[in-house]
Amino acid sequence: MKVNLMNLTKKFGPVTAVERINLDIKDGEFVAFLGPSGCGKTTTLLMVAGIYKPSEGDIFFDGQQVNNFPPKDRDIGMVFQSYALYPHMSVFQNLSYPLLLKKRPKDEMKIEAQRIADMMGIGGLLKRKPGQLSGGQQQRVALGRALIKKPKLLLFDEPLSNLDARLRISMRGEIKKLQKDLGITSIYVTHDQIEALTMADRIAVIKDGILQAYTDPENLHDRPNTLFIAEFIGNPPMNLFDVEIQSEGGKLFANPGDGLKLAIPDSRKPKKTVKGRVRMGIRPQNIHIDSKEGFDTRVFLVEPMGRDDLIVCKVGNTDVHFLVDPIMRLKMEDSIKLKFDMEKSQFFDTETELSLLWG
């Protein structure tokens, strides 16, 4: 099912929670709503579900305006962060409840519930009550309950947040596979960018109720169109510098401080000519130790992160974060030579915070 949001707005009294969101979701697509908590992503989802009424704007399912459809007539399934299972019903009753409401025959309910339960790997738990299940099992029941009526749209509201880290990773894969196998259009709300980046076909980044970007994960990571996206996406976060772009002999240079002069490659030349200061961004992954071409600096701090060591150096007044192999055994005050991979650098207007490269 195709989903279109047009100028979708939600106000709670004087507070605007969601402001004029425009979004289109293709049939069978997996879209993530990503943003910090309280940004309006769940509110948007609940409007799609029919739980909240939009203050302005429209929601279309396959071209049909559904603003005034109650949830039960929207042909959707939803999975909640708190699982929202009915604690007084058994797993079987939970799973088959949507069919019961559709007045399907008992036999069908039994067969369907068993089929879904087997698919979710909880076939042996049908007689239990939700309270007797682990978090992961409960989430599988919730997913099964959302799927059993074969909805045309699946909604996920931070479904993995209450699970432990290991389970989260395996469930991530399972949900993704299930969604692709069944081909159900899905919206997945999360504040965890790794979830969004690994699972979604496209990601809608929302901040303060406003849609910041809507594109695929690769674009979002490599070609951020605003400063907010650049800072928000990626872990550890992108290093940002106040620089001045100077032109010298037809070539452009940036000066992040300490008298450094970094040549800007042609591929990263700002679209329009800029005078004065801009923000330059470079991801920790694109900073390397290079004993030949690097500039001199000292290790300010070492934070072991397991697979990598996160190193902090100073360039001018700015902390620069980057990752090295722990095998190098860098210590504080060690002298090192650093090289920025300027082919991967980003530039943003200081005022508008928009990218000078894309968008």
Binding site: I51, Y52, K53, Q64, N68, F69, P70, D73
Partner: protein, 326 residues
């Protein structure tokens, strides 16, 4: 949603009739009305209507003598009669005294003392005593009053005479006619104390332990702690209990009705109104006059209830529904 709604709704899906579309919207949105309907009917029939009736009949001379047909509109005559009535001051003064004494010594005083003591001793013991203090409230009123009647009864039966007066060598008597005011205060006070007790005890228990610890470390005595830590924490419940119980004491008469039936000069204002309207003792039930007496209480009740609901801002406890659709 009923069948009717669904069919209209399906038509809307196909985008047919704009008028039906509006009807669908209206119909679908009144679920709340059906949920509230029984409550609304009862509230209208037994609160709103009676309030209006009270004020209306207080302007008539209706009584068993006039019956329901031959009554006349007499305006504020009943109120003038109250103002001029020789017993008015007596009932008013008794009511004020009764409310003040019961409130100060029991609904506030005793309840605070019990709350302080039961939160001071170990939890289980404290809980037991509080449970005992709730007994008068759950005991059917006639049984409860019967206990007090027997406590007050003359020797050799009465408990007070038997275990206190006799051993002290004093003159035994039936204490109910001898000290009727004391007994109406006691009877109501032992019921009323539990209200404040519960609120105060839970407020005291919610005082952060750190605060109590700090004052203990400072070497303060128990009384200093009560004075400087506990009482300031009880400001809200104290105010609440005072206002709430003033109103309910002012209008309560059930216990007194059973205890003395208004004899021995214990007819508080509310009982006076009740007796005028319902007591067949005098032969003529004066509904007009009785409702006029009650109307004064009703008016005070409405004003006080509105005022302190405003003051205590109960609306702030109300959360907004997080579901807006059908």
């Amino acid at each position: 949603m009923n069948e009717d709604n669904i069919s209209i709704y399906q038509e809307e899906k196909e985008g047919l009739d704009p008028i039906k579309r509006i009807r669908f919207r209206v119909q679908g949105k009144i679920d709340w009305f059906w949920f509230l309907l029984p409550a609304i009917v009862l509230i209208v029939a037994f609160f709103f209507l009676p309030i209006i009736i009270t004020f209306f009949i207080s302007g008539t001379n209706m009584s068993t003598a006039t019956g329901f047909q031959n009554w006349k509109w007499i305006g504020v005559k009943s109120y003038q009669r109250i103002a001029a009535h020789p017993d008015t001051l007596k009932h008013l003064w008794l009511t004020i005294k009764y409310v003040a004494f019961t409130l100060v010594f029991f609904n506030l005083g005793m309840s605070l003392v019990i709350a302080l003591l039961t939160t001071h001793i170990p939890r289980r013991a404290g809980f037991l005593f509080r449970a005992l203090w709730l007994l008068p409230r759950i005991t059917p009123v006639v049984i409860y009053v019967m206990m007090w009647r027997f406590i007050a009864a003359d020797a050799p039966y009465g408990i007070l005479n038997q275990i206190l007066i006799k051993p002290l060598g004093l003159q035994t008597q039936n204490w109910l006619p001898a000290a009727p005011f004391l007994f109406i205060v006691l009877v109501n006070g032992f019921i009323g104390a539990s209200f404040g007790m519960i609120l105060f005890a839970s407020a005291i228990e919610s005082i952060p332990k750190d605060l109590m610890m700090a004052s203990l470390v400072d070497g303060s005595s128990y009384w200093q702690r009560v004075r400087y830590v506990i009482i300031p924490h009880l400001r809200w419940p104290l105010l609440f209990v005072t206002t709430y119980q003033t109103l309910s004491l002012m209008t309560s008469f059930e216990q007194i009705l059973v205890l003395t039936d208004g004899a021995y000069n214990t007819e508080v204002w509310a009982l006076w109104a009740y007796q005028k309207a319902f007591s067949t003792y005098s032969g003529n039930l004066q509904w007009g006059f009785g409702t006029a007496l009650a109307a004064i209480l009703v008016l005070i009740g409405i004003i006080l209830a509105v005022v302190y609901m405003r003051y205590f801002k109960f609306e702030e406890l109300v959360q907004e529904p997080k579901i807006e659709t059908l």
